[in-house]
């Protein structure tokens, strides 16, 4: 089965998970996230890249406008998984359900 979705998760960094782990989860997530920076900036978009091994680890975010924002890990205060998880597998489940119904009707 598909893994449990992180949709709606808003971890407190340092208490619920480390910053690095939350960035990894955001990078793996197939939906938009909302990032709050230490300077108060609030960015919404899709985290498509990150480099945790860089001298200054960073992530890259594609905003709905098409702009790409590169943020250093050190700038990130919070990441919330606010967008819909596109990999939640609902279309597959619906298809299986329809197929099962059709097979039952034909049986």
């Amino acid at each position: 089965m598909a893994e449990r979705s992180l949709e709606g998760w808003a971890p407190v960094i340092g208490r619920d998970a480390t910053l690095e782990d939350v960035v990894e989860a955001a990078f793996d997530y197939r939906g938009d996230v909302t990032i709050v920076c230490h300077d108060g900036r609030r960015l919404v978009g899709y985290v498509f890249n990150r480099d945790r091994r860089a001298p200054e680890p960073y992530l890259e975010l594609l905003e709905p406008s098409g702009a790409v924002q590169r943020l250093r890990y050190a700038e990130v205060a919070q990441i919330a998984f606010t967008g819909k998880d596109a990999a939640a597998g609902r279309s597959w489940e619906a298809w299986r359900h329809r197929r099962a119904e059709a097979e039952a009707a034909g049986a």
Binding site: A2, D32, L62, A87, W95, R99
Partner: protein
């Protein structure tokens, strides 16, 4: 085997040149994804699950051509997403053909008939139609009834107009070898130039996580399908790769062989895994920790992978990189035995 001689020659001389230059890592096929959007949502696909604003975006033709020039591979495969949803697909293909790249446009064929006028037949250009089996199996794999019939109808029309058409087939757990053989027969009857087959990769984001083949099971399945190949079957891929699928050869993955370029840049490390992006092809080659990938690395994500994008480059490198490999490929090609 059905790869045209001119294409074999182009690839063979390219591989030899790379070896003479002493290049340890070189690309063979650029996987160019101009968009992620698709008009199907297949159960085994992990390529299209993105937010709407990402799905609505696509590369420009100029970005695509710059990636092709930068990479230098002799072949370009255009998957996606569904490339026939790309507004400028006709211009993109024309530009690639003008550069004498061998182009495979991987399509589900739902829009093929409607957009066929935008293309011109060429020895450099082939439609590679996604068909995972006969009607029942294919429609189940793509989660929509009627797709097989639309694809077959479009293939007929493309062939009638003189286009090269191949098929690409991904097999999953539960595939019936006899039905797959019947499918190969049906495609030969239809007149396609060649077949391409591969086991599916267990994308973590694919909706169906239950039917991906493990390695031993994949060997058993492909042996059952290919042990006694019919003379009339033509494959558009290396016979050494088919022998690898059957468990007759032990290959290691060549993850840089089919590099992937898309909206986010150059994908690390390969077409299947998404572990980050490089801004240039040179950066991809130079900074990806390649030793962490492939079966021998122990990476669990690579353990069961036998997909063509990693292993076909190995097979081609062995074919044109050693006399033994060349001899084995030649014998398989001439005798039809795998």
């Amino acid at each position: 085997m059905s790869v045209p001689l001119s294409q074999m020659w182009a690839v063979g001389t390219y591989v030899l040149k790379q070896r003479l230059k002493g290049r340890k890592r070189y690309p063979l096929v650029l996987m160019l994804e101009p968009l992620f959007r698709c008009n199907l949502a297949c159960a085994g696909c992990g390529k299209i699950q993105y937010p709407g604003h990402v799905l609505r975006r696509h590369l420009t033709v100029e970005q695509c051509l710059a990636a092709v020039e930068e990479c230098g591979a002799p072949m370009v495969s255009i998957p996606g997403g569904e490339p026939l949803l790309y507004p400028e697909i006709g211009r993109l293909v024309r530009e690639l053909v003008r550069r004498r790249k061998y182009v495979y446009l991987c399509t589900n064929a739902l829009l093929l008939k409607a957009r066929l006028d935008e293309f011109e037949p060429s020895k450099y250009f082939s439609f590679s139609v996604h068909l995972d089996g006969l009607r029942e199996e294919h429609d189940a794999a793509v989660c929509r009834e009627g797709v097989y019939d639309i694809a077959v109808d479009a293939i007929r029309e493309a062939l009638r107009r003189g286009f090269r058409v191949t098929t690409n087939t991904t097999l999953f757990e539960g595939a019936d070898p006899q039905r797959v053989r019947e499918f190969f027969d049906a495609m030969m009857d239809l007149g396609v130039e060649g077949l391409m087959i591969s086991p599916g990769y267990s994308y973590s984001k694919a909706p169906d996580q239950e039917h991906f083949l493990r390695r031993q099971r994949a060997h058993e399945l492909f042996r059952a399908i290919l042990e006694r190949p019919r003379r009339r079957w033509r494959f558009n891929q290396s016979p050494l790769f088919l022998q690898f699928l059957m468990g007759k050869r032990d290959f290691e993955c060549t993850p840089w062989g089919n590099p992937t370029y898309n909206l986010f840049g150059w994908q690390r490390p390969c077409y299947l895994l998404q572990e980050g992006y490089a801004r240039s092809f040179a950066e991809l080659l130079e900074t990806t920790p390649w030793e962490q990938y492939g079966r021998r690395s122990g990476n669990p994500k690579c353990r069961d992978c036998m997909v063509h994008c990693g292993y076909e480059p190995t097979a081609v490198d062995q074919t044109f990189g050693s006399w033994r490999g060349f001899r084995d490929a030649l014998v398989a090609t001439l005798t039809g035995r795998l």
